[in-house]
Point group: D2
Chain length 378, copies 4
């Protein structure tokens, strides 16, 4: 078989693209679902998911706690249509910032640009797909041209944006969202990136080179001698600053992976690197299928995080891991939250607070350094 690019027109023997289009489902807070979670989910992972719903809705969302809530996303959630849940949560002020793999933001753009991803099957012949120019993400199928046209939009945006310096991923995604809002009015109903810009929710990627977005930024540097790049330092410091500013801190972790680690390292950065005794998270909710016994961070328990200062030693009852595919558990979780008495909060709109919060961090960190130097001399 000759080397060539998939995506070329092929003579498709089967109509792989006949499945129902995937749409961003929006949770509405159904009472039946809340009853099932309260009364029917009693033990094992159903019990854990029920606990997670109650900790989130009754404690993390309690106005008195004013919890700063980070959502981290690993796994292909936007291709699976979960973006609608994220939109609803951001719009209602239920999550304050998001850390995701680049792929989740990249594939979100397909929805913004009105391309169609379709329900399919994981049991298909990938050599046929390759020959027919069809891309597969587990059981989600779409033409390779969707990638090429999304890439073209990204490169066009980068050129138009005149970005020519090192920026945080939050800044890049914010500008990208504004561009989408301007060019594709109404797309904030079916794009996380666009809605985040509208709702003031900063979006971070812990592995900025590691997605088609990163690939296109790298193209721009190589081919156009651009000085535009992602500065991971800015991301690290912004997330630290937001966590430092939280009255209480909590997270909802979907999957695990690099986004989980990136969120959880904020507190260790504060004490270990900046010498600021902030303490760890007050709440920790994870929905994952990874297992502690495999030894990876994705599967690491809240207990292990205590030894690192990532989670406050006294709050283990307010931490919970539900082992379940996020595509099942996260919509249920969002339905419960949306339907709860605390189902809407004032939005923090942290994207506009970043400079102020980083300045606060800098001040505290320098004070800690000065204090330590005085102590060392004394």
């Amino acid at each position: 078989m000759p080397h060539r690019a998939p995506g070329s027109p092929g003579n498709s023997r089967k109509n792989h693209l006949s499945g129902t289009p995937i749409r961003y489902y929006r949770p509405t807070g159904g009472a039946d679902i809340r009853r099932l979670i309260d009364e029917g989910f009693q033990a094992f992972n159903a019990g854990r998911l029920s606990e997670a719903c109650r900790i989130f809705s009754e404690k993390m969302l309690d106005p008195a706690n004013n919890t700063t809530i980070g959502l981290t996303i690993a796994g292909a959630m936007t291709p699976a249509g979960l973006g609608g849940c994220v939109i609803e949560m951001m719009d209602r002020g239920l999550v304050d910032f998001v850390i995701a793999t680049g792929a989740n933001f990249y594939h979100d753009l397909h929805y913004a640009l009105n391309f169609t991803l379709r329900r399919g099957s994981p049991f298909v012949n990938d050599v046929e797909l390759y020959e027919d120019g069809i891309i597969r993400i587990y059981d989600v199928l779409f033409p390779a041209t969707v990638l090429l046209e999304t890439d073209a939009y990204i490169r066009d945006f980068i050129t138009r944006s005149r970005l020519n310096e090192a920026v945080a991923t939050s800044e890049f995604h914010y500008r990208l969202g504004l561009d989408l809002l301007e060019r594709y009015p109404g797309c904030e109903e079916h794009s996380v990136v666009a809605r985040a810009a509208r709702a003031g929710v900063p979006l971070y990627t812990s592995s900025p080179g590691d997605s088609s977005i990163g690939m296109n930024i790298a193209y721009h540097e190589l081919m156009n001698d651009s000085k535009f790049m992602i500065d991971p330092n800015k991301d690290v410091n912004e997330v630290c600053a937001m966590v430092l500013a939280g009255q209480q801190n909590g997270c909802v972790i979907l999957g695990g992976g690099s986004p989980k680690n990136f969120y959880l390292q904020a507190q260790p950065t504060l004490w270990e690197v900046y010498g600021i005794p902030k303490g760890g998270n007050d709440y920790f909710i994870q929905i994952t299928t990874d297992q502690v016994v495999w030894g990876g961070l994705s599967g690491a328990t809240p207990a292990e995080a205590v030894s690192w200062g990532k989670i406050n030693p006294g709050v283990l009852p307010d931490t919970v891991v539900a082992y379940c595919d996020s595509t099942i558990a996260f919509p249920l979780f969002c339905e419960y939250a949306v339907g709860s008495p605390n189902g809407r909060r004032p939005r923090k709109e942290l994207v506009h607070q970043r400079d102020r919060l980083v300045a606060d961090l800098t001040r505290e960190a320098k004070a800690a350094r000065d204090k330590k130097q005085v102590e060392t001399k004394a």
Copy 2:
């Protein structure tokens, strides 16, 4: 419990640090082990691991193929003592470049700096550990001071290095390795970072902000107004350039996660972004415990990668996934490779070829762009 930094001296009620020190075990190619893998590992994942050993030793290492081999590492492999396997593989020319989570390089520094990590148990009281200033990575235990002193070394190195610009992670790790070799002679026997510098193996991190190394670089920018940062674009382009230059390409994936994705996106970057019809990988070996049915990239099969152009459609027989904890399977795999007739190759020392290879990539990409523009006009 008051907020404070763990790592403070505590009144340890138990001696959590009484376990055997973890050392970098070096595979020697034992004949008994090779016999077990050939004759005793016949079916199920034992069969897969046996296949992986043979594909690697007989095909990927076949001098006629001159395969460019990338090793990707997720999961805390250096804390578990697997660094010795990586050192042996680099030294013998059996891997040409490495992509790992930052944590693997960070914790490798403890060995270089002669700190001791110890065998422990995952069933310990983390609140006690927190109070005693002991850090836990699953069942690996060490004092929090190991973190603080390793951080101090990193910050000191950054200052001494006079790095004040945006660089690739390969460049940063190379310079770090040279510093270790100079300051801690002999440490290349027990440090992956040091040995990589000696052996000319580039080390990449796909999530540069996401580890204690990234945290300390971020500190330097915030506190010292440094211009030193990681440029993810350079990493993307260097890896693409090395893959493009390979006569044949193959990978050994430990775990999955962001390092896996970063490696596998090189071929899609070439065709999708740069318009260069390189084709996909010729060989693909993964050792993981993640599962395809959870839908994440870590568990995605070689077949799925075909639809993306990451793996050549004709080579599925030369792809294999063995489902096993890397701490068990990777030492067995290395023993087999080291003991094989192809157990040593000339080293490619790609760290010194990076500029040349990126220039080649730039040339080919520009030629592809020009050709496309001509076609579009025609």
Copy 3:
């Protein structure tokens, strides 16, 4: 610590039994839940679960197909409160027979006898529980006296029943259910065993010695010289006979394990042992967290079952495996089925058809043997 029986009164340091009582939740067919499954569960395991719901409700329950439906249960579903789903499904004629581990029927008796199991946590000190006489099933907690009193009821029933011969587990469970209905009127609302007797649904256990029920039957033989025993042959032949009689055949497999195998071996028994060309299952639904790559039967796919003649080669589109904890997926599945237009069927009441069906099997098997002997001679 001296050897003694747990369950002795202890000086409980903590009130482990303060959790909410676990009750048998009954699905009601909520419209919100059906909408979520139809519109929100689009890909990955949510997509699979959605498919499973539609295959079951639209095809397996289609009156035209008159599918004989077996439900198999592994994992501690009755302790987790899932018995209410099973009761609802049996009552509505949506499952025709059940194969479960003995533990599921044993722990169901606690509900019949009005003992209380409670929600707890998996993170408790088991040595404390042991000393306090508390039994733990993952996160379900109850006093050891519940075991002792349930055992006493079983032994008392066995004595009263005057059973003194070898019987099928279906017969034993049927008589047990009748006894419960008589002694504890109304218990069919909170006991699978009692409701099955009322609804005429035969209950089988593939590993009859392997549960507290089996232990107490064994006691009776050893201590009272009883001739009462379970005859596994009868179970094998009854299940074969019911499958043989099905117009169409289908199953819902929760978990996997020995109950899955016991159900699926019916078709191979027919062709391989009895020489009757019945063909395999027409529908196959499994909810499990076990994985095909571990090689066990619990994780084996419908495809693999084709090679054994367990599933018809043409029906793979009507087979689906959803990877999810049954405590989450099964209530959702039942809600969908109960709320569907086919949410009630005439009950087959197979417990009363067993003799007739086994006679039919015997006749066909003998005819097949005679035909084969004629062919062999010819």
Copy 4:
């Protein structure tokens, strides 16, 4: 596609049976392997496997402890060629009795009868296999005629044996083994069932109807009006009696499932049903890939078993679970044991002690009952 029995001659389009024959690999105690396990397996599951090897070899096999050791096997271990490990362990007196799924003993007979199972791939077309009459167990392939001829042998043996009563599975397997030794001299080198008969190791099946052996016994009852059946009560009482007689007790659990439960219920049977305060296991080793968080018994930890009295509360340090495919971990484990200083023990030959031990159990149980009746009256 018409209903028919697979196994009919087909026009095979591919030679699915070209793989290497699977043979029973025999561990020899290689020094390289022991060094790897001692020095290279330091953390995570490698660390656990290393611990398991040392607990087994140094404590369970310590002559002073005279531990009665049960081996339980779930998952298709004999098809994968692991029978050689079991043979070696039985021959050296390192396991005293075995509980396995019926399938493991059934497929062992193929080796005894000199049929060939072959290495294959899990990625094959099962409809093709079905049409070609080839049976697949994950990646193990063999003609359906192997089933039919093995079944014929079993039915022939049953007829010749003149068995016409209810017996324990240990008795049935023992007689089967003797028949194999007589008819196929030398087959004890490649048959667990034959070697067990020679070595006096009782073999139990917890789910006697649930395998092709059970199917053929059921055939005999239905078609020939035989009174031969398995009496699960005898199995329960024999295993209880052997456990009761142990100076110390320990187990090696491969997989989990019904065999695990059957072994572990012995101690609860003693205290809960028979009123004998024996205490729980002193040692517990499990090799599995199932996970505690899924709530099933296969994944249940040693800690949970403490609350049931299955494991002694004081011995948790002598319990270990290594999460790994048994096809990889069990050969490594056996190599370590065989090469250890305690690598051979006098065989207990419990198959010949069963009557005596059950008589002892009966005596103790009646004494306990009498004592309790006296106490109740007093």
